[in-house]
């Protein structure tokens, strides 16, 4: 188990490093550097930056140094919690991002939890009642879930909500809570708005999980131990839930590691359609305005949060799957 844990932790750290390099690439890609954009920003608002000032700023940010030194400097800044300035807003990046990062994670995790809650019983049902009408319906809905990109689903639901109920189904908060400080009632308001975006985001994953669960359970149901248990007169419900489902659940748990990056990715676009106050709209605006410190930081933080989430799901896997726990003990 320890070996497994160390391996996962090592991989997580390696991934975070890769994310940081890739985010740095995103920051560096557009032509010009931070100071060129800064000067452009200043002159568009009527101020003037002299040549000397520009040089001094470049010196200060180390922009005249080779790339790897710039990367190291940026990392130093990041470790001190300083993500630079967001040009468009004239405020520190961390302030601009604020709650949005957490809300992104809340939406994503809610989507995954919902995925589990929905996929588990449907998957079991589809396997136990194979080729029943319910099974066909589940398969059909599952395929639709796989085929309709989440942003399109969001668009269609927005449209239906707007024309049928004349209601805006977007957003994460009611108007009166949007700018309010956190309180219990705001939290409750969030909880009320969460299911729909979570469902939209989770549908594709749900479809996948139902298929995995169904296939796994079907494999288990044909095994001799199930036949033996049935022959011995064990109650059907008891028999299925207690043994084959538990075995089928293991590969199920490990898919969460792949689900999280997928859902976080999807949340970016869905947030734009549903105008959720997550980092999605902010990232798009930053990229279009070439506000690269803001954009790079969002890419970096999203990546790191995802890696941490995946690592946590690995810990859950250790807890669920005894085969990993006892690895190396034999």
């Amino acid at each position: 188990m320890l070996a497994y844990l160390i391996r996962r932790a090592f991989l997580a750290i390696l991934t975070m490093w890769a994310v940081s390099v890739l985010s740095f690439v995103v920051i560096q890609l557009p032509p010009g550097d931070y100071i060129t954009s800064y000067i452009a920003q200043m002159s568009s608002s009527g101020s003037f930056v002299s040549q000397q000032e520009a040089e001094a700023l470049r010196e200060q940010y180390g922009l005249n140094k080779p790339l790897y030194i710039q990367y190291i400097r940026w990392m130093q800044m990041v470790f001190q919690g300083n993500f630079g300035m967001a040009l468009e807003y004239g405020r520190p990046v961390s302030e601009v991002i604020g709650d949005r990062l957490w809300l992104t994670m809340v939406v994503s995790v809610a989507a995954i939890i919902l995925t589990w809650i929905v996929a588990l019983p449907i998957g079991i049902y589809s396997a136990v009642r194979q080729y029943s009408i319910g099974d066909y319906i589940a398969t059909f809905v599952g395929f639709i879930g796989l085929a309709v990109p989440s942003f399109m689903l969001a668009l269609i639901l927005m449209y239906l909500g707007f024309t049928l109920f004349n209601a805006n189904i977007g957003g994460l908060f009611s108007d009166e809570f949007a700018e309010a400080p956190w309180s219990l009632s705001k939290l409750w308001d969030l909880a009320k708005h969460l299911p729909l975006p979570a469902l939209i985001l989770g549908l594709a994953g749900t479809a996948q999980l139902i298929r995995i669960m169904r296939a796994n359970l079907l494999d288990e149901l044909g095994k001799p131990y199930v036949v033996t248990a049935r022959a011995r007169g064990l109650a059907e419900r008891h028999l299925i839930v207690k043994y084959p489902v538990r075995v089928a659940l293991n590969p199920f748990a490990s898919t969460i590691g792949y689900l999280l990056p997928y859902v976080v990715s999807g949340s970016i676009i869905v947030s734009l359609v549903l105008s959720l106050p997550t980092v999605g709209p902010l990232l798009l605006k930053a990229l279009i305005a070439q506000d690269m410190f803001l954009a790079g930081t969002i890419v970096l933080l999203l990546g790191i949060m995802t890696v941490i989430g995946t690592f946590l799901s690995d810990l859950v896997l250790i807890w669920v799957d005894p085969r990993i726990r006892f690895e190396g003990k034999r």
Partner: protein, 388 residues
């Protein structure tokens, strides 16, 4: 792999023959059938996959004949005709086959001062098949001006909008045809690139093993655990603004192909690992075959079918990626036309509520992705000699 037990038992072969053959003859046919024949028989049994393949082929026919199927210039905009609703074709006039649409008359709404168009039963615009229209080059080479549909003796105000118009007054049907061309071809181009990367890296990984294998596997694991869309958004946003349509097209293809290769590399590596130990590889080695010959004449044919299946399943992801990026305004940009670019117009919920036909491009997206998925599933099952 050509073990008769693995293929469809005699029943399928008998079906193939059209008549009921004696069991021994049928078995004989199975045992002498090539691997591809066995796969084809098995694939044919999968009705859904067969139907899906037909749909995919139809869509690719649209890709080839987009110019012919469109009937008006997809870029010709006319502010006067902004957001017109779809016109229905009436096939019969006075009991004769004589397709026409009602002409539209615009009046100013006295309250909102917006131009409102209503069908005018007095004005019948005749629609003809294979009518001459704007000129184009079929397949980029052969000059032509015939289109599937067209308006006869078209005057400036005689228009045909099967699916309505967008905000700039461009015909949605024609744009959809060109969008299909772009989106589906970008899917193919992207998948070819990732196939190349996947086979190369997966092959090296599976063949060489050891340190290189570990490195490539870690890279794949890392790439799979990063949320990709923000990253691709960052890369796509860095494309210079002054690039032309073709340059952006290739850059976007490159970016989305970076998504797909990991899964393909995994499949290729798995196959290489499994086959490396087989006796026929050993025999080839003993007979003095070079490594390249072993790979290309002995190994690749035996897992080509798996690669084809995996590739088919990778295409929908490519199409979704392109559609998403373009939808965000970071992928292909106008004047390029793709499904994502078309759907971008549906982003505004108010506009959508008034003109719901802007959502129409989401229908082909869904159908094509479903069809590719079913087809890929069928191919995968057919390619697997140990499947049930």
């Amino acid at each position: 792999m050509t073990d008769p037990k693995d293929a469809n038992p005699p029943a399928a072969a008998a079906e193939e023959g059209g008549a009921v053959l004696p069991a021994s003859v049928a078995e004989e046919r199975v045992s002498v059938a090539t691997q591809w024949q066995l796969m084809w028989w098995r694939f044919k049994k999968h009705k859904l996959a067969m139907a899906s393949s037909v749909i995919v082929i139809l869509f690719y026919l649209v890709v080839i004949f987009a110019d012919f199927l469109a009937y008006s210039d997809p870029l010709a905009s006319e502010a006067q005709r902004s957001l017109l609703s779809p016109q229905r074709i009436h096939w019969f006039d006075n009991g004769r086959f004589d397709p026409f649409v009602y002409g539209l008359t615009g009046i100013r709404d006295p309250v909102t001062f917006k131009r409102v168009y209503t069908p005018d039963p007095e004005k019948k615009i005749r629609v003809r098949f294979f009518a001459p229209g704007f000129e184009y080059h079929f397949l980029g080479m052969i000059p032509a001006d015939r289109h599937l549909l067209g308006v006869v003796d078209a005057r400036a105000e005689d228009t045909l909008f099967l699916l309505g118009t967008d905000e700039q007054g461009r015909d949605l049907w024609s744009r959809l045809m060109y969008g299909t061309q772009t989106s589906l071809s970008i899917g193919l181009a992207g998948v070819s690139l990732s196939l190349f990367l996947g086979v190369l890296l997966g092959g090296i990984s599976g063949l060489k093993g050891g340190f290189i294998d570990t490195v490539i596997q870690r890279v794949i694991e890392i790439l799979r655990s990063i949320p990709t869309i923000p990253l691709w958004m960052g890369l796509a946003a860095a494309l210079p603004n002054d690039w032309n349509v073709m340059q952006v097209y290739f850059a976007i293809t490159l970016i989305i192909s970076l998504i797909g290769w990991t899964e393909l590399a995994r499949v290729v590596r798995g196959r290489f690992l499994a086959l490396r130990e087989e006796d026929f590889v050993m025999a080839a080695e003993l007979a003095g075959c070079g490594q390249m010959r072993i790979i290309f004449t002995h190994l690749v044919p035996s897992f080509l079918s798996h690669i084809i299946a995996a590739t088919t399943l990778a295409i929908p992801a490519m199409i979704i990626s392109e559609t998403s990026l373009s939808f965000l305004g970071l992928g292909l940009r106008p004047p390029a036309i793709s499904w994502g670019v078309l759907l971008q117009q549906a982003q505004n919920i108010q506009a959508l509520a008034i003109s719901p036909w802007l959502l129409i491009p989401s229908i082909p997206v869904t159908i094509v992705i479903l069809a590719f998925n079913f087809m890929g599933d069928g191919l995968r099952d057919a390619a697997d000699p140990y499947g049930h």
